[in-house]
């Protein structure tokens, strides 16, 4: 096999459709006789529903149906538990999954209470105002610690309290080990995350074809196959009767892997009942309540360390906000618990978390998925330890790195994929070295003039390290077929939300089959095109589906060699596959196009050999034993204006190791986008809840997504340590950019303002100019604050 495309910065196959406005997104689906859905949502965070009156709404012109929980009969049932808790000893997990429409009680603002179906979206939304719901407001649980108080209002009244889960994982014996520590650092860390806010909100269109007995669903989901299976089961249909299409999706970032949202369950059901196609498109206000988010954790963490700067152990007790329901199980807090160990040898670890139900929207994975929280705690603890021990912050990381010869490295606890947390490979030192070189660390720290600008701004530098568990199982698959035109078609079950699968999977295939990358047509996210799969999450598309594509392509390649050898009556070893042709080595006129070979492999008359499979086609699957662990370092130089606490990032560097890179252009794009979201999390984006569980900033004018003026130019570089867990050596890259940015901001801003000298530490994220001023302002003297 000649590698022409793997590792090359190939521009994308899908771009022409996206750039000209031709690409189909869910809201572009237009069908005759289409009805439109709108949802009445709870204005209360916690309330009992005393009555619902829909009579007036039903009489409005253009309204076809109004549905409440009482109308749903047996179809009303809580959603499935998507991720069961991992097999950890003495685990407590209280399953309370979301319901399609609230019955008796609402548990967060925005929870759907009634659905209106009307001839237009405008009319459906008009009718929402006709519905009268009598609520009895209940005290809202907003704060995590408050939720655990014995007299706290109970969100799920069948439970004894608001505990969603309680999990302890340990390694070694921290209680003994801490006695040997020269220094024990204890701090409380608060890490909050916000809304993923893809520019395309969620949406669904469902159409029942009564003649064919088939349901077609267009859904903004990251997991079309799982939606197909689940909806079929709920509706009493066979899986073959349901087709789910995840067409072009306008960004996913995790919340579109949450499955069986109320709208996803209700729209197909009513499309069958009314025998009319139905569309629902979430608006931006709804997105702040009806789509899952990530949220806060409070860590009480303790680092035991020797005078030599070597970690002896970490003890961490944290609370996790799971929101009103917990359909996604424990993925978020388990990721936090595991990723806290980061890239370091931690001989003793004792970590306990309590997940708490609150009267807020459901928390499920959003890019990084809890890993940010863990990395923040560990990176901050090391920064504080370095300071107290008089060790350079870079040096303390080096002293604790897992060495290149220590892999596979077993952390002795269980990861989100239920497998032991074992890092497959890595070589952290060179990654850190490269980041220091690119940011100009030595030069900066030696230059006394670098720390202040002429106009009085303070300048600081930050360097942090992270790891990311990626590419988890169970499996993905791919089918590759050489068409009689000579083009190659490839189908896989994962959905695509901008990751470039139409190109990266084509690159893998094109190299194996010796065709042009533009001649490979990729279909993702259509369950009629590929039956099996799990979905796009946990930075696994390239790792798991990519390897499945490679395995399928290898089989097709073998079939081409065999067919060509038979055709030319020569040995397979003499066949060369290139430029869309199979030829006999050294005899260029003895060549046959792959399309013609495919036709010959599918004869219409005559006999074939026993065991013959028609065509040049193969389906294959790949499932890794466990996730592959990527790693990297982020560094930045930041300017802080002490008068306003406004920041400007002067330089930003990412060095990462995600194993074999299929397409460096695409990986670079993933890194840039991840960093941009990390910057949002670190400094701009905060969901502001009041004491009643009301969201105070539910608009893009108030919830600030970073703009082109906020995200700096990013210099990126990579090192390659292949993963031994898959034949291509790939590790995931999708979430890496977002993970360490909070830790980096805290360190760099502390450095810029020389905060330790003032007795101030940054122990929380997100920050903002206001919050920095609250933390720091009182400690700065007037000269430093740049007072006029």
């Amino acid at each position: 096999m000649v590698t022409r495309y793997l590792g090359a910065p190939i521009t994308r196959n899908e771009d022409a459709r996206l750039l000209t406005g031709r690409a189909l997104f869910v809201d572009d689906v237009n069908l005759p006789n289409l009805l439109h859905a709108a949802f009445l949502r709870s204005p209360h965070a916690h309330a009992r529903i005393k009555s619902i009156d829909v009579a007036t709404a039903k009489q409005r012109d253009g309204v076809i149906a109004v549905i409440t929980a009482a109308d749903m009969g047996d179809y009303w049932r809580p959603g499935p538990l998507l991720v069961p808790p991992p097999p950890i000893r003495d685990i407590v997990f209280n399953q309370c999954t979301q319901v399609p429409l609230a019955k008796d009680k609402v548990r967060h603002v925005g929870e759907p209470v009634a659905m209106v179906l009307a001839e237009s979206r405008y009319l459906a939304e008009d009718a929402l105002a006709d519905i009268v719901v009598d609520y009895e407001a209940l005290p809202a649980i907003v704060d995590l610690a408050d939720g655990l108080k014995p007299d706290a209002a109970r969100i799920h009244e069948d439970l004894a309290g608001n505990t969603a889960a309680h999990v302890r994982q340990t390694k070694g014996n921290y209680a003994e080990a801490v006695k040997r520590a020269d220094l024990v650092i204890k701090r409380r860390f608060v890490y909050d995350r916000g809304a993923s806010s893809p520019i395309e909100t969620r949406g669904i269109v469902a159409e029942w074809d009564g003649k064919a007995d088939r349901l077609t669903i267009w859904d903004t989901t990251q997991a079309p196959v799982v939606i197909r299976n689940g909806i079929a089961a709920m509706l009493g249909l066979s899986e073959r009767q349901v087709r789910v299409i995840a067409p072009f999706i306008g960004g996913g970032f995790g919340p579109k892997i949450m499955m069986f949202y109320p709208e996803e369950v209700l729209v197909p059901w009513m499309a069958i009942k009314l025998s009319r196609p139905i569309k629902w498109i979430e608006d931006r206000l709804e997105h702040f309540f009806a789509t899952t988010q990530e949220r806060g954790q409070v860590h009480d963490a303790e680092l035991a360390i020797g005078r030599d700067g070597k970690i002896i152990g970490v003890k961490d007790v944290f609370l996790h906000d799971t929101g009103a329901y917990d359909p996604y199980g424990l993925t978020l807090p388990i990721n936090s618990q595991c990723t806290l160990l980061n890239a370091y040898v931690v001989p003793h670890y004792d970590s306990t978390f309590t997940a708490v139900f609150t009267n807020k929207p459901i928390a499920t994975p959003y890019r990084g998925a809890g890993r940010q929280h863990g990395v923040f705690v560990m990176e901050r603890l090391l920064d504080i330890a370095a300071r107290q021990l008089g060790i350079d912050r870079i040096e303390i990381r080096r002293r604790n790195f897992i060495g290149p010869d220590q892999f596979p490295y077993n952390n002795e606890i269980i990861y989100q994929d239920f497998a032991p947390l074992e890092y497959d490979s890595g070589n952290y030192g060179p990654v850190l070295d490269k980041a220091l070189e690119l940011i100009g660390y030595d030069k900066f720290v030696r230059d006394p003039t670098a720390r202040r600008t002429d106009d009085g701004k303070h300048v600081g530098i930050g360097v942090v390290f992270y790891i990311e568990g990626t590419g988890i199982g169970p499996y993905e698959g791919a089918r590759i077929q050489v068409q009689s035109s000579g083009r190659v078609s490839l189908a896989t079950g994962v959905g695509t939300q901008g990751q470039g699968h139409f190109t990266s999977f084509a690159q893998i295939t094109a190299d194996q089959l010796g065709v042009d990358v533009r001649d490979v047509d990729v279909v993702t996210g259509d369950t009629d095109q590929f039956y099996w799969g799990a979905g796009t999450f946990a930075s696994r598309g390239a790792v798991v589906a990519g390897n499945a594509v490679n395995e399928a392509a290898k089989v097709v390649r073998q079939k081409i060699l065999r067919a060509a050898a038979e055709h030319f009556e020569c040995a397979e070893a003499d066949i060369v596959i290139a430029n869309g042709k199979a030829s006999v080595a050294g005899v260029s006129e003895r060549a046959i196009g792959l399309g013609e070979l495919a036709q010959r492999a599918n004869p219409l008359r005559g006999a074939v050999k026993p065991g013959t499979e028609p065509g040049l086609e193969a389906t294959n699957y790949f499932g890794p034993a466990r996730g592959a662990t990527a790693n990297g370092a982020h560094a930045m130089i930041i300017e802080v204006d002490p008068a306003t606490m406004m920041i400007e990032i002067k330089k930003y560097v990412v060095v990462h190791d995600c194993g074999t890179v299929i397409n460096p252009l695409i990986v670079e794009g993933q890194i840039h986008g991840g960093v941009a979201q990390g910057i949002g999390n670190a400094f701009y984006e905060q969901l502001a809840w009041d004491r009643d569980g009301q969201l105070l900033n539910a608009s893009l004018a108030d919830y600030l997504l970073p703009t082109a003026l906020d995200v700096p130019h990013i210099d990126s570089a990579h090192t390659v340590t292949p993963s031994p867990l898959n034949p291509m050596g790939i590790k995931g890259a999708g979430e890496a950019g977002a993970i360490p940015v909070g830790a980096l901001f805290a360190q760099a801003i502390e450095d810029a303002l020389d905060l330790p000298r003032h007795g101030v530490e940054i122990l929380e994220i997100p920050l903002s100019p206001n919050r920095l001023w609250e933390l720091i302002g009182p400690h700065l003297d007037k000269k430093e604050a740049g007072s006029p």
């Binding site: 910065p9 521009t11 994308r12 899908e14 771009d15 022409a16 996206l18 750039l19 000209t20 406005g21 031709r22 690409a23 189909l24 997104f25 809201d27 572009d28 237009n30 979206r121 405008y122 008009d126 993923s196 806010s197 893809p198 520019i199 395309e200 909100t201 072009f248 999706i249 306008g250 960004g251 996913g252 970032f253 608006d283 931006r284 939300q497 901008g498 990751q499 470039g500 252009l665 695409i666 670079e668 794009g669 840039h672 986008g673 991840g674 960093v675 941009a676 979201q677 608009s699 893009l700 004018a701 997504l705 703009t707 082109a708 003026l709 995200v711 130019h713 990013i714 950019g737």
Partner: protein
């Protein structure tokens, strides 16, 4: 609410359209769902994200903040009209492809309509100019860097042409 319908006669990408619409119909919905020009995307419906940006008599505007009736007698340009009739991409479309300036592509139409208008006014922009002009369009995938590169590249390829 009045049931009165209003006549809208408008030119979109050089083609005349005439429709009777409700007074409250958004221009974005008119383009997407009445005329079927779905290339214009709707991201926030409150004028912040910029995904629905079109050109209204040559100027970039948010189509979610306008009513369809306001298009009466005016010229609209949308993403569908940018490429040549033979399919040749506009230099900015081509540059976005060459620099990987789009990922999910949902914000792309709005960025194209904002930045082609910008390039017409600023044939030789600096990077700060580009970032300033781009700052009214939100992109959640790219971190903007490749988009900025694309605008720079398109400007140089257009060689100061408007």
């Amino acid at each position: 609410m009045s049931d009165e319908r209003h006549r809208v006669a408008t030119t979109v990408n050089g083609t005349r359209h005439q429709r009777d619409v409700d007074g409250r119909l958004l221009l974005s919905d008119f383009l997407r769902h009445v005329l079927g020009l779905t290339g214009t995307r709707v991201g926030c419906e409150h004028g912040v994200c910029g995904a629905c940006t079109i050109q209204y008599d040559g100027l970039p505007v948010r189509s979610c903040l306008m009513l369809a009736v306001q298009a009466d007698g005016h010229e609209i340009a949308t993403v569908e009209g940018l490429a040549g009739k033979d399919g040749t991409l506009h230099p900015l479309q081509q540059a976005l492809r060459d620099t990987h300036g789009l990922q999910c592509g949902f914000c792309t139409a709005g960025i194209l309509m904002t930045m082609t208008a910008f390039l017409a006014e600023h044939p030789k922009p600096t990077e700060p100019d580009i970032r300033e002009a781009l700052s009214g369009n939100l992109c959640r995938c790219t971190g903007y860097q490749h988009i900025v590169e694309a605008v720079t590249l398109a400007a140089s390829r257009m060689g100061g042409r408007r």
